[in-house]
Subunit: 202 residues, 2 copies
DNA sequence: GATAAATATGAATAAACTTTCATATTTCAA
DNA sequence: TTGAAATATGAAAGTTTATTCATATTTATC
């Protein structure tokens, strides 16, 4: 963790270069993936010299980690905002799921970047999902108390199931290149049916 | 697809080298990932010369694709076998889910290899999951006809939801290094509750 | 406008990587 | 046993890569 740090610029000019690198990095890491993107690709897309890159980032990995962190924040924040004014857990699940899918639809690169952490550094990946699961369980618990969520079901498993649904239904949308918000609403509603009633007839 | 082919050996001696390469490839691609594994790593682990590698495989990618194909077959086959003698769809879902998780628990490398295809070649990844979804829908359809599965729910979405559940509940197990079959049975049962009744109280 | 700090440059370095090829050895069917 | 096909070898070629550094320019502050 020593040589994977970044340094924020201290002047307007520096900020401009910094932003150009970020932009090129997002585009290229997202498009071609981390390993297939070289520093040369990044600096020539950003139109800065090689040395400039190393003023702001210790290494290729440092830029990746910076972007990963930014995306994680954005995703968590958009979920938080979306669920703020919901009246019950059911509505919250719907809003959270929709926010996530809308996010990855608008920026599929974020999606890839997070998944790719499994191959950049498996520990980052594991830490991300385990901590996400813990936080999910904490958010679900009060609704078991209040009786809205069943009390005979393991919440950790529920958390992983819900993460799995978001991610793979997100895939379904990303695979369909001309998907719109209408399509997102459709699949989200289908998922909610499933969470409400299961998939089997009684 | 031209320079990513393999050639099967024609003598016993050749087969031995071929197998040594396969074994080293599985181990290293699974452990360090495709991009972080060099041909040098593979041939030195397999104890063959560089030239020998190229007798059987056109490239580094060719070996990856060979292994990917093998794992896909194995996973599909183990799911097929597991669901063969089930009496209803509910039992089939349980058996299929368990077979998948047991497979990835015993060989997490297979798991990683398939996910990594998103970064080796996104088309492979997309093709894998979309064709899997199509086949899933085809298998579910008769059970909508028979009335076992609800008829007011989009089957494509159900397919992606079920793939999401398998994959992420699989993660939950893989993350827990000393998970046993008992743990698999536990999470599988929790998932089945969810598929039967949903997660909300009525 | 002087000055130190910040920023920019890109050629050069050094390491790593995939793939080729000329040569040598082994296998196996006739 | 013979000889063509199959297999094995590893040094070398030819890329590509991340990173460094000496030098130059620009910025902000007093």
């Amino acid at each position: 963790m020593k040589n994977s740090e970044f340094r924020l610029p201290k002047t307007k000019v520096g900020l401009k270069s910094f932003k150009k690198i970020i932009k090129a990095g997002k585009y290229l890491y997202g498009k071609a993936g981390y390993n297939s993107t070289s520093i040369n690709d990044i600096i020539s897309k950003a139109k800065v010299a090689a040395g400039t890159f190393y003023i702001y980032f210790d290494s290729k990995l440092a830029l990746y980690l910076y972007l990963l962190d930014e995306y994680r924040h954005n995703i968590r924040r958009s979920a938080k905002e979306a669920t703020q004014n919901c009246k019950d857990r059911l509505e919250m699940e719907r809003a959270g799921l929709k926010a996530f899918i809308m996010y990855v639809m608008e920026d599929p690169l974020a999606y890839k970047l997070i998944w790719e952490s499994l191959f950049v550094d498996p520990n980052i990946f594991k830490e991300y999902y385990t901590s996400f699961a813990v936080s999910y369980v904490n958010h679900l618990e009060p609704f078991v108390e209040s009786g809205e969520i069943r009390d005979d079901i393991d919440l950790e498993t529920v958390a992983y199931v819900l993460m799995g649904i978001s991610n793979f239904v997100g895939l379904q949308i990303v695979f369909n290149e001309d998907a719109t918000e209408k399509d997102v609403d459709f699949v989200v509603d289908e998922c909610m049916k499933l969470l409400k009633y299961g998939i089997f007839n009684k």
